[in-house]
Symmetry: C2
Subunit: 332 residues, 2 copies
């Protein structure tokens, strides 16, 4: 594989649109690069493949380590491929810096799915701030769709701040749980259960089958008290055994039913258009702050300004105005 | 009351620190003003009163209309005053533009509390974007504390995007519910129940007493499945009758206990320092985007750029870079 710097983005865009998985992998490497010339090439390439197909599904799937996420995605992906879909799996793993490796870095994960031409599996990028990762994941989804993958899954471990960002990238957010009392949620982001459009209780097999049924009933009751998701959708809770494959079809049926409903009502298109508009302003805001932080004269001042604000000796607004006026070189 | 433009902010800061409620009201009017000269005066005044006292409590209280929020806050406030506290109530009401009036505009609300010298009640500002309202509410809290009000309550109706912003302004977030099956949460922000540090089930009196007890038990069960709040705090659920006053003491005891624990561990100071730092960067980000939006050459381009991005014909990142380079007058 050539390095991104050597890539001709027009050739890459053409190969990608022809469904070439190697070209897709190279294209994602290009959008993940922070080198300024790579960013420009990535943007030209994106504009060359846009607009992509609209008849796609973008899913967020979250769950703590040990819940059986890879086993579920493998079973789910195989089922989708049998039904004629092409599936892309992208991982966001804010904890990878701690653990030393990406959650998808392990080659043995989703081994069977990875061998299929109808699947594309992308390990988590290991560097960069989360905001940046979410922005680039948005672009990676667009690239996967342009390459003909009609189901894009963004996988997260749910321990960080990533879930809200991911919920803003996708059409539906799926939370994976296991039989039990919710202990596994300890450490997950607040509000994640309510964020879910669909809850999958995995490991509903063998000794855990009864416990899984109880967990489904418990969450159904709990969600009745929290049913503030969307007026037209009541969060479904589905027991699944990723091991035996039981229930995996039901998950897809629920997603497909939901997608058909929001596509017919126009809510899906509206949501995606709003997500794109918000991404524009988020990019602008982040890029402006980056430009300010990158300014040599500002950078010198930041530590002392932060100290004063954190000690309550200066108001954030006055401190912000002072930095802003220095950056813009005029009254703000 | 003189108009903000005529105010001498040094005199105002001195009067405010002496506990003058009229000065406090004028000072908040000043921080809510968007006029550039008022903003500067407001920032000078803030810096003159900072740092304020640290032995204070900042509470967010949320609940839909009809849940009995004002009755609860009145009973709660009276009890606090009897215990020697001074209480300030600030409202954020993103829906006031729709309804034509502020939730606190009605003079009859909290009439008794409003007559006490130990209470300060501030109606919701009726204009401005929510981000701006949250920023100014942060400053209003600091002013109330500087004026000797040691308990600041930020009241929201929970239907908008304000709760996350408010949770970032306060030490604890309290959600008011009424007996029933959670139907009232319909339309509230997703994740609000999980956001709560404390849930108060109001109307636990008369015919509704039994239903309230059931609701408390139901939420206790539900939260067991969602207990991802903070490792050192299990969300408490307390039945209350704002009408008879029963349970109001228990709410304060829970808040006070929690405050003592986080103050002793250093978590409270850490949280407030982080909130201040984040407020600095949020101010900077918002001010930068405002400066960009206010640029005449950018403003002309925005509608067409948004259309292209929303139609999926341009990537947010390329569109953002293009606007940014025009704004900064150099490659970004």
């Amino acid at each position: 594989m050539s390095r991104p710097g050597e890539i001709d983005e027009e050739r890459l865009a053409a190969a990608l649109k022809a469904g070439d998985r190697r070209a897709l992998a190279q294209a994602i490497t290009l959008v993940e690069s922070t080198r300024p010339d790579h960013r420009r090439a990535a943007e030209r390439m994106l504009d060359a493949v846009l607009p992509g197909p609209v008849d796609t599904i973008r899913l967020g799937i979250s769950g703590v380590p040990g819940v059986g996420k890879s086993t579920f995605i493998e079973a789910f992906g195989r089922m989708l491929i049998e039904r004629g879909h092409r599936i892309a799996v992208l991982a966001i793993d804010p904890s990878s810096k701690r653990g030393g490796g990406s959650i998808l870095g392990d080659k043995t994960r989703m081994a069977e799915l990875g061998r299929s031409d109808a699947a594309f599996i992308r390990p988590s990028p290991t560097r960069g701030a989360l905001g940046g990762v979410a922005r680039r994941t948005r672009e990676a989804i667009l690239l996967c769709e342009a390459a003909g993958f009609d189901v894009a899954i963004v996988e997260t471990v749910g321990v960080g701040q990533s879930e809200t960002a991911v919920a803003d990238l996708v059409d539906m957010f799926v939370l994976l749980l296991q039989p039990g009392g919710g202990d596994e949620l300890q450490g997950m982001k607040k509000g994640i259960v309510e964020l879910a459009d669909l809850i999958v209780v995995n490991k509903a097999d063998g000794d855990l089958a009864d416990a899984a049924a109880r967990t489904v009933a418990d969450y159904r009751n709990a969600l009745r008290l929290l049913r503030c998701a969307s007026p037209d959708w009541r969060t479904e809770i589905i027991p699944v055994s990723a091991l035996t494959g039981s229930g995996v079809d039901a998950v897809w049926d629920a997603i497909d039913r939901r997608r058909a409903a929001v596509a017919a009502s126009g809510a899906l298109e509206h949501r995606r258009r709003e997500q794109a508009r918000q991404a524009l302003w988020a990019e602008l805001g982040e890029a402006l702050v980056e430009a300010l932080r990158g300014d040599a004269s500002i950078r010198r001042l930041v530590p002392e300004v932060e100290r004063r604000v954190m000690a309550g000796r200066a108001s954030p607004s006055a401190a912000a105005r002072d930095l802003l006026e220095r950056f813009l070189g005029r009254p703000a």
